[in-house]
Symmetry: C2
Subunit: 328 residues, 2 copies
Amino acid sequence: MKHLIIFLTISLFISSTHAAEYDSLPSWNEGATKDSIINFVDAITDKNSPDFVPKAERIATFDNDGCLWSEKPIYFQLYFAMDRIKTLAPKHPEWKTQQPFKAVLENDFKTLISSGKKGILELVMASHAGMTTEECENIVLEWLTTAKHPRFNRPYTDLVYQPMLELLTYLRANGFKTYIVSGGGIEFMRPWTEKIYGIPPEQVVGSSIKTKFEIRNGKPVIVRLPEIDFIDDKAGKPIGIHKHIGRRPIAAFGNSDGDLQMLQWATSGKEKRFALYVHHTDEIREWAYDRKSHVGRLDKGLEEAKKNGWTVVDMKKDWKVIYPFEKK
Amino acid sequence: MKHLIIFLTISLFISSTHAAEYDSLPSWNEGATKDSIINFVDAITDKNSPDFVPKAERIATFDNDGCLWSEKPIYFQLYFAMDRIKTLAPKHPEWKTQQPFKAVLENDFKTLISSGKKGILELVMASHAGMTTEECENIVLEWLTTAKHPRFNRPYTDLVYQPMLELLTYLRANGFKTYIVSGGGIEFMRPWTEKIYGIPPEQVVGSSIKTKFEIRNGKPVIVRLPEIDFIDDKAGKPIGIHKHIGRRPIAAFGNSDGDLQMLQWATSGKEKRFALYVHHTDEIREWAYDRKSHVGRLDKGLEEAKKNGWTVVDMKKDWKVIYPFEKK
């Protein structure tokens, strides 16, 4: 009887694996984009292929903002920082006249956006300095359960891309370790990436502030300091990858010029490599922007993609649904 | 026939797993030390135990020098740095009078040791600045194939501790992710830790120098800069853990006061925790040193271990063999 159960379990496992392989990317329309992904994965996982890559080397890195979830009208972490500043404002009358706090309190998005990812990090830094890393984690998690995106009136974590979730799962099923490599704050992402993307905290690379270890009330804690440690954007992305992972990815996924160096780094190795840009072309279901956008500009990257034959996702054309909640 | 083979494979797998569980730590003598390890692993892997810890949280961090391999008479990385300096010396006549190079060229160990891990990092930095990370990796690997330890006349990677190799394997078989968290240079360790310890580069945390990304001869490279980025020692260890892993280990292993904060950090979580110090007590098979040693001093740590009930390995008493080559 026990043997029979093992048999059945194995058969079920084999058939479900096959079924999954049949269409692991159901939200991707058939066509060249989807084919390029599948052809790459087939080639590097086929032991008889000259392009075979052993499992340990199957590292895939993903940008977060605009690649795994939306980034419009402003980076979601900026909403988080603004909400924090507003919560703390009564205790800081000086913020009324002091930038960038003034811009937050006046909802002056233009000033805030122009300060870039570094500006956001500085805001988060100012509003969380002296806090322990655990306290900070709790604040992020609480914010995510209550805050809602202004356009969709849904929690921000609802605005992840269904096709990219499928892609993450598909790659992991094929032996990949999937990483986030984002300009966003590492401590802003880590509390929820495992639940939302299946990416554990140790596989999240991001921008960071300095911290220090101390014994507080007899208990060891790590305390956030008001000093930037690392900006994981542009040329910082290959550096962040080298620092955290120590090997070159064989596949990299981004959506903006901030990801260009990561894609260059990933594709410059010896083995077969894959690079993909998500191009925001869907002004109805999501947003359409590229060369002129302040948030998530994709300009040089589009040229490089053309020149190097990287895959460019046309969101409007290639994706059946954008968000999980659109699925029937 | 196919089913029969699957059956046999499963049976073999099950019995070998059982056999392995019977004594996964054959180089450890029976007694309280070995029991403490096994009892901890049993408790946190037993689904019916109140101490059960889900797999994702089973993070174990290991110091390297003096915990996974020897560190006497001086840190092995210091030999590496000295060999590099000597190789490069003909091109640098100024080193004859300039510290710390002078100390290297005169084999002045006393001066070198007193400069600590930071001093080693500075030496490595000076001798590898401007090099790409790939070039540096090749130099490390080449050195390891040729350099020999002065006492044992063997490659340095022969001087890893057999009981600790078994412990790493045992923990991984029980769902742990094993990490190195060392004061040594991250780029000195990563090229070989996977082969020697089964620990992949992305699970190595260490001291580091700054790097920059650039396109060199049309090829993206990461170049080493002559500037220290991070010292992963003492209070730096919990910081390095937080930075790279983003969750608190449930078990930590060290051998010196430089590991104390890591052990404090690991054991201060809510779940059942484990901390272990390797105490160097075997002057015949290895070295005996603790409170007075310049390299790998264990003084405050011994007190803390006693106070907190941490496991202290008595190498002489607890380990049947020290190095793999002692096995019959």
